[in-house]
């Protein structure tokens, strides 16, 4: 076989590698666990519209390894490549807007966040990023001599990363913007996984992990947006409240649930953050949501602080205007 034919054969085989894979599905792979009936329904209706804007913001859309070294000599060619490589969007989901739309509607329905009566709002969900990237480096060497050829084509992928970015815009009946939030998540493979060549299933899992994290924050984020839009106050003074602090990476929150009047602690748990960031990592604050997870309006939060002050708790706004720092608990017999 002539050297050129050998070369073409090897390049052809190399080109086939890595194209196989099972198509993913946002609706199936990125569905978060939703705690049903966590929220008291807002008196409004919410329709969902998903817009695919990945082409406008995805820096990885044209990602491919760049040539770092190219040495064309008379009898030998050597090139070295390195750079980001994107998993094709078809492998993540053949139709992301439709799949995401179905999933968002399901999450809102399961959360019991809205009633089917009252003013109508539209939740515009812009899909700005949903991708898996890895770093691919490789080298190609070709040596040709009369009657013989040596070809090596070696490449390796590493550092797989999945990321998801959604922008939520709540619009009223006239289409005017009422509130906007961005949900941005990135997931890196663990060190053990990144030692090996990342397979397409792992890569699509990382993108789904990132999107699942964003979507797990959707109900409470939408709750905050609707609360700001409707400016609903607390109907009655809560008997329980939450003191919370965020982990250093803001992915987790330690929540201490306590009684307002007695200060008695009812629970103390670390859990994944399920809504907007409300304080600096490590700061103990009175959480801006109820013990049931419902977002408090500004008047509702101030009413809670008044109730806490009357019961002997000490909390005050400092630098953070979104949550008051919790400073002291009332003295309770038998509890420090």
């Amino acid at each position: 076989m002539r050297p050129v034919a050998i070369c073409l054969l090897i390049l052809g085989l190399g080109g086939c590698a890595g194209t196989a894979g099972v198509a993913g599905s946002i609706e199936r792979d990125a569905a978060p666990a939703v705690r049903e009936s966590l929220w008291q329904p807002h008196g409004c209706q919410v329709s969902v519209r998903v817009i695919d804007r990945r082409a406008e913001t995805d820096k990885g859309e044209d990602a491919r390894p760049h040539t770092r070294l190219f040495l064309p000599l008379i009898f030998a060619w050597y090139s070295s490549k390195g750079g980001p490589e994107l998993l094709s969007s078809e492998q993540l989901d053949p139709d992301p807007p439709t799949s995401l739309s179905r999933l968002v509607k399901r999450i809102i329905s399961e959360s019991g966040l809205v009633s089917l009566e009252g003013p109508a709002y539209q939740l515009e969900v812009e899909l700005l990023r949903y991708q898996s990237l890895s770093y691919r480096e490789g080298s190609f060497f070709l040596f040709v001599a009369p009657g013989a050829a040596i070809i090596t084509d070696v490449s390796k992928s590493s550092w797989p990363v999945g990321s998801a970015l959604l922008r939520l815009t709540l619009r009223d009946q006239d289409g005017a913007e009422v509130a906007q939030r961005t949900l941005n998540s990135g997931h890196l493979a663990s060190f053990e996984k990144s030692d090996e060549e990342p397979a397409p299933p792992l890569l699509s899992e990382l993108a789904a992990d990132a999107l699942r994290e964003s979507l797990s924050q959707l109900p409470q984020t939408l709750d905050e947006m609707l609360t700001a839009a409707l400016d609903e106050g607390l109907e009655e003074t809560p008997t329980r409240f939450v003191v919370a602090r965020l982990s250093r990476d803001r992915r987790f929150v330690q929540e201490i649930e306590a009684e307002v009047l007695s200060g008695r602690i009812l629970s103390n748990d670390w859990r994944a953050r399920r809504g907007p960031v409300f304080a600096r990592p490590g700061d103990w604050v009175v959480a801006p949501y109820t013990a049931d997870g419902a977002w408090l309006s500004a008047p509702g939060y101030r009413a809670l602080l008044d109730a806490l002050a009357k019961a002997g708790h000490v909390a005050a706004f400092e630098e953070n205007l979104s949550a008051a720092r919790y400073l002291a608990t009332p003295a309770v017999e038998g509890q420090k």
Partner: protein, 201 residues
């Protein structure tokens, strides 16, 4: 002559920086002069409310590059800074407080706390962000290399004025790169810089 002609594109290609994202260029940041701390004296006595409106930063935020590590590429590890826009806002709040400003932060859409009367609101939208650690061959300590592009608005008594600013830093690993980025941003805003992009080292 012929050999050098053939080698010129080769040398140019060899200088391209390994990066995990298009747009990241740690080698260009490494070439910056070391960034000195900047006291934001222009903000002394002012009242400021900080708020994040957008965060479009992408994972990974950056990598650890070790020139002595084996392999074709010096990338040794990758990192992602979760909620980079909020981290930058908090660093800006620290820098403003250190400069003698009265600063407040709004994390939520409708915060229940009251902003100081007459406070200027600064809205921050993080458009692009990278933060790397780079150890040069033979050196004991690494350099922290950061870049952020922030689009936002300053809302004061005289109305709202938009800005679009890119800041870059190159600091020792013992320094706080986010604080250095925030100081660069505040220096640009405090000096009444026009709403334009441009590197600042």
């Amino acid at each position: 002559m012929k050999l050098s002609f053939l080698c010129s594109p080769l040398l140019l290609a060899a200088c391209s920086s390994p990066a995990l994202l298009d747009g990241h260029n740690p080698r260009a940041l490494l070439a910056l002069r070391p960034t000195a701390p900047r006291a934001s004296a222009a903000w002394k006595g002012r009242r400021v409310l900080l708020r994040v409106t957008d965060d479009l930063s992408q994972a990974p935020s950056g990598g650890y590059f070790d020139e002595d590590a084996p392999g074709v590429t010096p990338i040794n590890e990758i990192y992602h800074l979760n909620e980079a826009a909020l981290a930058l806002m908090e660093s800006a709040a620290d820098a403003l407080s250190a400069a003698g400003a009265q600063v407040r932060c709004a994390y939520t859409l409708a915060p229940p706390g009251d902003a100081p009367p007459g406070a200027e609101t600064i809205e921050l939208g993080l458009q692009d962000f990278e933060l790397h650690l780079w150890r040069r061959s033979g050196e004991a300590r690494s350099r922290l290399l950061g870049r952020a592009r922030i689009k936002g608005r300053r809302i004061g008594e005289r109305g709202a004025s938009p800005f679009d600013i890119e800041v870059q830093v190159n600091v020792d690993q013992r320094q706080d790169a986010l604080r250095a980025l925030a100081e660069q941003l505040l220096a640009r805003l405090g000096s009444g810089a026009p709403a334009s992009r441009g590197g600042e080292g």
